[in-house]
Symmetry: C2
Subunit: 185 residues, 2 copies
C-alpha cells in the first residue's frame, strides 16, 4: 500500500470535474504526483478503468452521506444535498454527472453503465426523499415525485455548469430559488 492509487483516483476526480473526462490525459495525473505515466497504467490499465473507479467512489460517497442524514427531516436532507453542490461550486468543480453526461457517447460500455448506475442512484434517493418529505409536510410540490426529482437534479447539475460560464452567483441564484420553491409554501 502506497497511497498512490488513492491519489490517482482523487486527481482524476478533480480533473473530470474541471476539464472533462476526454480533456485530461495520464500525464496530467502523473506529473503533479511526481510519478511516471506508466505508473498510472499499472493501477488502471485503461483510462476506462480509471473512470469506472472514479464513479464507483462517487456512488459510495453519496451512499455514505445520505446515510448520515437519515434521521433528519427531508427538507433538511435536501438542504444538505444542495450544500454539497454549493461546495463544489465554490471550488470551481462541476458535478460528475454533468461532466460525464456530455461525453457519454464517447465512453466504453463499462463506463456508460456506471454513469447510468450513478444517475439512477441519485434519482432514486431524491424521489424517496421528496415523497417522504411531502408526506411529512416539510417539502411541497406538484406532480409526481420522480418527475420532480429529475427537475431538481437537472437544476443542480446545470447550476454548476452555468456558474462556470456566467459567474458563481448563478449557482446561488438557482439554489436559493429551488429551495424556496420546495420548502416555503
Amino acid at each position: 500500500m502506497s497511497g498512490t492509487k488513492e491519489k490517482i483516483v482523487s486527481m482524476a476526480d478533480r480533473l473530470v470535474r474541471t476539464k472533462g473526462f476526454n480533456a485530461f490525459s495520464y500525464k496530467d495525473i502523473a506529473a503533479p504526483l511526481d510519478i511516471k505515466n506508466a505508473a498510472v497504467h499499472y493501477h488502471f490499465p485503461a483510462k476506462c478503468d480509471l473512470g469506472v473507479e472514479v464513479i464507483e467512489q462517487e456512488i459510495e460517497k453519496f451512499r455514505e452521506q445520505t446515510g448520515k442524514w437519515k434521521q433528519l427531516p427531508e427538507n433538511e436532507q435536501l438542504a444538505r444535498l444542495v450544500d454539497v453542490f454549493r461546495q463544489h461550486n465554490s471550488q470551481g468543480n462541476i458535478c460528475l454527472m454533468g461532466s460525464l453526461a456530455t461525453d457519454f457517447e464517447t465512453f466504453a460500455p463499462a463506463m456508460q453503465t456506471k454513469v447510468q448506475e450513478m444517475a439512477d442512484g441519485i434519482v432514486t434517493w431524491l424521489t424517496q426523499c421528496l415523497e417522504q418529505g411531502r408526506k411529512n409536510k416539510c417539502i411541497h410540490f406538484k406532480g409526481a415525485a420522480h418527475a420532480r426529482a429529475l427537475l431538481i437534479m437537472s437544476n443542480l447539475q446545470s447550476s454548476l455548469l452555468l456558474s462556470r460560464v456566467m459567474g458563481p452567483t448563478a449557482f446561488r441564484s438557482i439554489a436559493d430559488q429551488l429551495m424556496e420553491d420546495l420548502c416555503q409554501k
Copy 2:
C-alpha cells in the same frame, strides 16, 4: 462559393452536440464530407475559429427564431423554446450551451467569450419573456425573473444531458413539469 464551408460548420455543430468540442477532430468532419483534413483548415485555420463560428450561427439562429415569436403570447413563446429543445432531444443532440459549458475551462479566450455571449443572450431573452408574461398573466412564478430564467435554462440544458443517460423520457418528464409549473396556476 462551394457550400463546403457551410457543410463544415453544420457538421461541427452536430459533432459538438453529440460528442463534445474536445472529443471530435478535423478528421471527423473531413471524412464524411469527402474532403481532406487540410480543407477544413483552409476555411477555419484553428479549431477555435470553427468553434466561434458554430456559436455565432447559433446566436443568429436564436435571434431569428425568437424574432418570429414576437407577436405570440409569452407562454406560447416559452412553449416554442421548449419545443426547440424537444426537437434536439429526439435527434439525440444535447444543447450547445450544455456541451460547451463542460469543456469551458479548456477553451481559448475567444471561444470562452463567445460562449458567454450566447449564454447572456438566452438569459436576457428569457428574463424579458418571463417578466412580460407575468405582467400579462400568462406565466406565473415567484421571485425575480432573472433568477427564474436561470432556473429554466438550467432545466432545459440538463434535461438533454439526463435524457442521454436515463433515456429520452427524462426530457419529456422535465419539460412537462416545467411548463405545468409556469403556465397552469
